[in-house]
Chain length 411, copies 2
């Protein structure tokens, strides 16, 4: 057996929080603490920003009990950052890692975080400083290359399914048009998960629009109109990032100048503007009275008490595997989740950082219907296992109608 490189482990979390991101944190800490050549396990506060600032917690001295309690808590326990490091920033990070004798760096994050890790990894190699860098996937957007699906997605998808499940029942009781705006700039996986709310034939969402297909305002009105005629109600799930055929955000088409900051950037999250604009568009054009819109916003990202058990287990296991790849195989990379058969098991592989770093995965064509307003059976097969066990199944009254008395008289 070869001697292992003695030194410290650092773990950090980047980008938007998820419901299970602390499962990965706890997985790294508990697994790394098993190895005798690991002298300390540090956590950087506020992601890469904490490295620059030398803002570390000594997680070697955290109790297992509390680590397990933190694992069940949504949102980054090590706090997060939106810093997008350039090469100079990465170089300064690397200097701090060297000063602290950190030889293993685990970064839990999405596309941007994996790209940061790739650059840090290259800096270390050029300086001939031994630094194992392993990326642990995390994103509610589910848009990392090489992965069948990403930790964090299953729980957010469960929230979206449960939200539309309730909205469907509400809208059935008090009919009208309902538009739910779901997070997702470039990938529609999260919005598409709304399909799991459907149990009965007339259940919504009746229409699902994702960024992978151009959003045409006239076709949208036609879809809503047809659904209203068929069911007397219409539930729409739409990604915040939908664009027209030319790639322009729909918001700029509906309300030119609205929802943009001083630099002309369209703010997609943290505002109800798109939902309200779509609502007005339907009201004005179809002359419908009861049209409502909700923007799911931050609720879908770390709602307390909505976790997919499978997602939690995989977030933990992906982190354990990350440590094992670094310790036993002594290689860098990104942990990728594979699914050998649709229904259902997972394997973890380590793939080169460059295969994942800064890239975006989109929904497969096979997941979307031809009309561009719904999902296929293939997507149901894909998404159903990810939201975990114990999904609630709404029930309906099935008792027979009573024959009218007064109406009977007059006819």
């Amino acid at each position: 057996m070869v001697d292992k490189l003695a030194g410290k482990v650092l773990v950090a979390q980047g980008g938007g929080p998820t419901a299970v991101i602390n499962q990965s944190l706890t997985g790294v800490v508990l697994e790394a603490r098993k190895f005798p050549h690991i002298t300390r396990v540090y956590g950087a506060l506020h992601g890469v920003r904490g490295i620059i600032d030398e803002d570390f917690l000594d997680l070697t001295r955290e109790t297992t009990h509390n680590l397990e309690a933190v694992a069940l808590t949504p949102s980054s326990a090590l706090l997060s950052t939106r810093d997008k490091p350039d090469r100079d920033y990465c170089h300064r990070m690397f200097e701090v890692l060297r000063a602290h004798g950190i030889h293993y760096f685990f970064y839990v994050g999405g596309n941007d975080s994996s790209d940061t890790l790739r650059i840090v990894n290259e800096e270390a190699e050029q300086a001939k400083y031994p630094l194992r860098c392993v990326h642990i996937p995390k994103t509610i957007d589910n848009d990392l290359m090489e992965n069948d699906h990403c930790p964090g997605y299953g729980s957010a998808a469960r929230f979206v399914a449960q939200a539309f499940g309730g909205v469907n029942l509400d809208n059935r009781a008090l009919k009208g048009v309902y538009i739910g705006v779901v997070m997702g700039r470039h990938a529609g996986f999260l919005t598409a998960a709304s399909c799991l709310a459907r149990r009965f034939e007339d259940d919504g969402p009746h229409l699902i629009y994702v960024p992978e297909r151009p959003f045409d305002l006239d076709r949208f009105l036609g879809d809503v109109d047809r659904t209203m005629k068929q069911y007397g109600r219409c539930i729409v799930a739409v990604s915040e990032g939908v664009t027209d055929a030319s790639g322009q955000p729909i918001m700029t088409r509906l309300k030119p100048g609205m929802g943009q900051d001083a630099h002309g950037n369209v703010q997609l999250s943290g505002t109800g503007a798109l939902g309200d604009a779509l609502m007005d568009h339907v009201k004005d054009n179809l002359k419908l009275k009861r049209v409502r819109s909700d923007t799911f916003g931050y609720l879908q990202r770390s709602f307390v008490g909505c976790v997919s058990d499978r997602d939690a287990h995989e977030a933990r296991e992906a982190a354990e595997k990350a440590v094992q790849f670094a310790m036993w195989d002594d290689i860098d990379g990104s942990v990728a989740i594979r699914r050998p058969v649709p229904n259902y098991s997972v394997d973890y592989e380590l793939v080169p950082l460059k295969n994942v770093a800064g890239k975006t995965r989109h929904m497969d064509d096979a997941f979307l219907n031809e009309a561009g307003n719904g999902v296929t059976q293939a997507f149901y097969t894909y998404v159903r296992p990810l939201v975990g066990s114990g999904m609630f199944e709404p029930a309906r009254l099935r008792a027979a109608r009573v024959a009218p008395v007064i109406k009977g008289r007059s006819s």
Copy 2:
């Protein structure tokens, strides 16, 4: 023992759905089916509208199994209505009830529904038609007179607490101002329940605004500014119905003309306009960059999988009691929930319909702090038992900070 009036029972559901309203439906059906003098149990579809239309289901022929499954399903299984019956409408309802030999009418609803029932009850008395009318309370707003609290509120409060629980963790990871707009036109109970998200000293919501206190835009800015200076972040919970000191909706102060329909009515629910306007107001005046807003909208009303067990039990029991009052005591009225001691038991009383009908209860003064931006200990004592068991408690890392190496050198 006196002979009981033989005849049919009718149950209906009115107004906005709740997560536990079908517990009350199932409670009425199962309890009423026990009595031999009850010939049928009917359910009216779409509330009072179903009475006018003679649109009844024969719930005598519904399975107990399915009734129990429906009880667990959020939102009105008998569907609902926003019809506000006038005296003529009530008279037509009464005619249908007579035509079908219905002698017991149970209506699950809020302020408006209890007022409808009061008028129907009076019509029947004038016509000397025997009709027991019992109102079963239901509202997420918790604003029915005579009640310590109302079925439906506990589950919605649980949703709001869990939503702010997640939002607090998210906002701690990525700091900024967050404004969450909660349902509530006249009563702030639901918004105030956000206080249950706080576990650690710096947890949000830091500011809570309810309709019972005038909302002053300048004081609001001062509150946010002070909180940002203290914690570097600020979470606000605000009722959709907040008004200025003169009773004007805040929306009309922030964006005159916006969010109003052709008749000048301000649409409060089903739009993100108030949240967005408050967000812009903070951004513009405090020159803060990261300000976000969510409007909880319909998610808080019937989100699948977020039920207070206590709320579910009480919704069931209030309905059972309603049937028992009608059958054994042969009286009309509204079932009211009392709480003999704060921590915790309930009694059910039947109070006159006129005590509840069309009236609105507001939060007690003792529940609100003097500054008008938060709740008191008394409110915690009040609300904590209502959200039920198994509330998640977030955990934090408590490991010690690591002494800096590079910063140490330079100092």
